[in-house]
Amino acid sequence: MEGSPLSAGQFALLAGLFGAPMLLLWAGHHLRRKSRRVRGAFWGGLAGHTIASLIAIWYSMVPPEAWSASDTVRGVGGFYWMMVGAIIGAAIGILKSRNQKPAS
């Protein structure tokens, strides 16, 4: 591991750990002034990231002796899920904001 470049899983972990919250902070700044699409993406992304973070923390606590060679669920849950959860949540938020009627 010494001196090796960042693996795809580690990159996804960093993106989920710091990238997604940073984007959420940017989107949440002056939220009321933002467009409906950005507001939908913010709330969807926030919900998706929160749920995904809890799943990632849960999977990260699985001790190594319980891992198996074909254990992809743990890898996806621990490394990729925070980033993917935020993206899926934001996408759902955008889609929901499109279907909503504008406030009268």
């Binding site: 750990l17 923390i57 990260s60 001790p63 190594p64 925070m82």
Partner: protein, 202 residues
Amino acid sequence: MGWCSAGGGDAVARPAGSGKVRTITPALPPAPPSRRSGRWLARAAFYAHLWLGVLFTVALLSISITGILLNHKRELGLMPDVNHDPAGQFTAALPLAVLADKARAATSPAIAETQIDRMDVRPRNGYVKVRFRDPASTEVTVDINGGRVLHVGPRGDVFLERLHSGEAFGDKWVLLSDAAAIALTILLITGYWLWLVPKWRR
């Protein structure tokens, strides 16, 4: 003519009937330098508290949970609790190489092939803990005088320790734990600043 005040203490004139807004000369004198710097500090403290709090939520949550689990590792069965009294004098203990062989013999061949990570000698209890470098961090507790195997089992707390420090992801990932600790310190300072400084100013 309607009047409203703007954020920086300037007065804003909004003539009735027209949508135009024009700024006129400040109605109040500018704030003294100490108050201005205080406002700047409060703003910086607020944003540092907000950004660091959000960015390090998951890392700090993970460190907190692993910390609680490590505090109660005995009760949770993450490490063995072997009750044993010394069977003889420490000077009469078996050599470390012999104790290591006894430990190897007590494990499966796959574990015995791996390197020994450490040997933790406890003269007060009369045993040595021999830990292997397998994924489960298997530990064999051996009586140092008779060579009797007292316990064989995985050490669940080793992985939690590595997760707590960040080493579970790689050697350099301890920096993540360092960053989270620094962030927590700044969060504490800024939190107290935002809470107490406005009270002192009143």
